[in-house]
């Protein structure tokens, strides 16, 4: 799951100087993930992992990093 998220985020949404050095705990919002990017990311997640992510949970805690995104998705998969 992390690999899919990383591929989509770095290919489509944000540019970082070194993808390898960007850890799964690093802050995506500080790296430039904006509102349009978050929308596209949520659409990607819902299609790819067959989940529905509630609007009310789109907050900085859940979209902060690759790791928090994964936890958020897993919570809604079960």
């Amino acid at each position: 799951m992390k690999a899919h998220l990383r591929e989509f985020i770095f290919q489509e949404l944000i540019f970082v100087a070194s993808v390898e050095d960007f850890s799964n705990d690093d802050d995506l919002l500080e790296a430039g993930l904006d509102s349009m990017g978050i929308m596209r990311l949520i659409m990607f997640i819902e299609d790819k992992f067959n989940v529905v992510l509630p609007d009310t949970e789109i907050d900085p805690d859940n979209v902060k990093s690759i790791n928090t995104l994964e936890k958020w998705i897993v919570r809604h998969q079960s």
């Binding site: 949404l13 540019f15 790296a31 904006d34 509102s35 349009m36 929308m39």
Partner: protein, 447 residues
């Protein structure tokens, strides 16, 4: 019988680059504005500086920029039915200093110069696509970056300033590296022919739905004369509160929608008697990845619309809920990308026809846009100095077609939101804008 189609020979002498579909979109608006005897699609960022920059260094960096990107010195010319960036016979200066005469009021000088430079009228193939103007008065220094929209979008213009702010030559080489083709064309290549056709039809249907409601226009029915700017910089406290309220009303995904919704409500409160059914607002989204340094020039944008009926505008919480779900639906159904095939197809129309398609409602044959809107994030610029000085404030400007004759350009910089009201006199008057701003503040700060 010879059935080969006759192809008109185009003189490609001196051609540097053809325009991409998004460039044509801005060129059509340039033509619309020029047809109203106005200067065309001039845009500007006014960067207020802490002090005078090192002039020699700034000039050298601008020279280096124009050598690396010759499009900056090019002339926009029509060859056959298409438009191209072409070499000039003779390069012209693109850096100017404007010092204020002692007898003039300092504040007034900067404001007057900014407006004068944005109202500067020149033939399309003669005007320099980009120029830098250092405005200096007794207690204020502003660097105006002025460009014509077919050259680049607002993100590109901010990258140009970032280039000037970058002291390390190796880091400057990272700009526009690797070179990239038009992001609109790259996105279109991801779709098969049938997908493009389906997207095209989807976008046409979407616009037809929008056009069922006649747009509310607040501009007076008068001949446009000149662009004016009234800019307000809010405090850190106000900006923090607005961000918290935006988060509450539209969540993490809709700060632009919060500004748009508040502005719709402020306009409606100014004059609820205006005819029409709904507010309709076009706004661009950028196809670049965030924080990427390439491509530097040309336009790489798609278009979205926010529309709300008068009834929805009058109910605050319902309005934000509506704008949010409308935006989500547009992205979920790929309507944002569906406008790209339309943009590509329209680039083969005459500029006049293209402009009509962009502006006129299919159903009512009246202006589709209630106002223009743009929000730019320039927070990265605050981390660097500019040739020995710091940027302490930013205003943004753009020429507008009439109607709608009014644009709200927002920008958050160093935790302070600036609201830049660009409007065409006499369609709007300064007194109207001052009153409108007070209502806008109320709307932005209402819990």
């Amino acid at each position: 019988m010879d059935c080969t189609p006759s192809v008109m020979k185009i003189d490609k002498t001196g051609v540097l680059q053809a325009l991409n579909p998004a460039d044509y979109f801005t060129l059509a608006m340039d033509e619309e504005i020029r047809s109203e005897s106005m200067p065309g699609s001039l845009c500007g960022f006014g960067f207020e500086l802490d002090s005078m920059p090192k002039i020699t260094l700034l000039r050298a960096r601008i020279d280096e920029l124009s050598q690396r990107f010759p499009l900056i010195l090019a002339s926009l010319q029509q060859r056959g039915n298409r438009f191209y960036w072409c070499e000039r016979q003779q390069n012209e200066a693109i850096f100017f200093q404007h010092d204020y005469p002692e007898k003039e009021k300092s504040e007034l000088f900067i404001q007057t110069q900014l407006e004068s430079l944005l109202n500067h009228s020149q033939k399309r193939d003669e005007i320099m696509p980009l120029s830098f103007h250092l405005l200096h008065s007794k207690n204020k220094t502003v660097l105006l970056l002025r460009w014509i929209h077919p050259l680049c979008d607002a993100v590109g213009a901010s990258l140009i300033l970032q280039y000037l702010c970058t002291d390390d030559i190796e880091q400057r080489k990272q700009f526009n590296n690797p070179e990239s083709e038009s992001l609109v064309n790259l996105q279109l290549k991801k779709f098969s022919l049938w997908q493009k056709i389906k997207l095209f039809i989807k976008a046409k249907r979407y616009i037809t739905t929008l056009d069922q409601q006649q747009s509310i226009i607040h501009a007076a029915d008068k001949k446009p004369n000149k662009l004016q700017l009234t800019a307000y910089k809010l405090s850190i406290e106000q900006t923090t509160k607005i961000n918290q309220l935006a988060r509450k009303h539209v969540g993490l995904i809709g700060i632009s929608l919060y500004y748009i919704g508040c502005f719709m409500r402020a306009l409606e409160r100014m004059n609820p008697e205006k005819t029409g059914d709904a507010y309709c607002v076009p706004y661009a989204f950028n196809l670049r990845k965030q924080r990427v340094l390439t491509p530097l020039l040309n336009n790489h944008v798609g278009v979205l619309f926010a529309q709300a009926s008068r009834e929805q505008v009058n109910h605050r919480s319902e309005l934000f809920e509506h704008l949010k779900s409308q935006n989500k639906q547009v992205i979920r159904q790929q309507i944002d990308y569906a406008f790209l095939p339309i943009m590509w197809a329209a680039s083969f129309l005459s500029l006049k026809k293209h402009g009509e398609n962009l502006r006129l409602s299919y159903q009512h044959k009246t202006e589709r846009s209630s106002f223009w809107f743009s929000n730019v994030n320039l927070s990265d610029l605050g981390k660097q100095s500019l040739c020995g000085t710091k940027i302490k404030g930013i205003s943004n400007l753009c020429q507008i077609s009439s109607p709608p004759g009014i644009a709200l350009l927002t920008c958050e910089y160093q935790q302070q939101l600036s609201l830049n009201y660009n409007y065409i006199d006499p369609l709007f008057k300064r007194s109207f804008i001052d009153e409108l701003h007070q209502l806008m503040l109320e709307e932005l700060l209402t819990p």
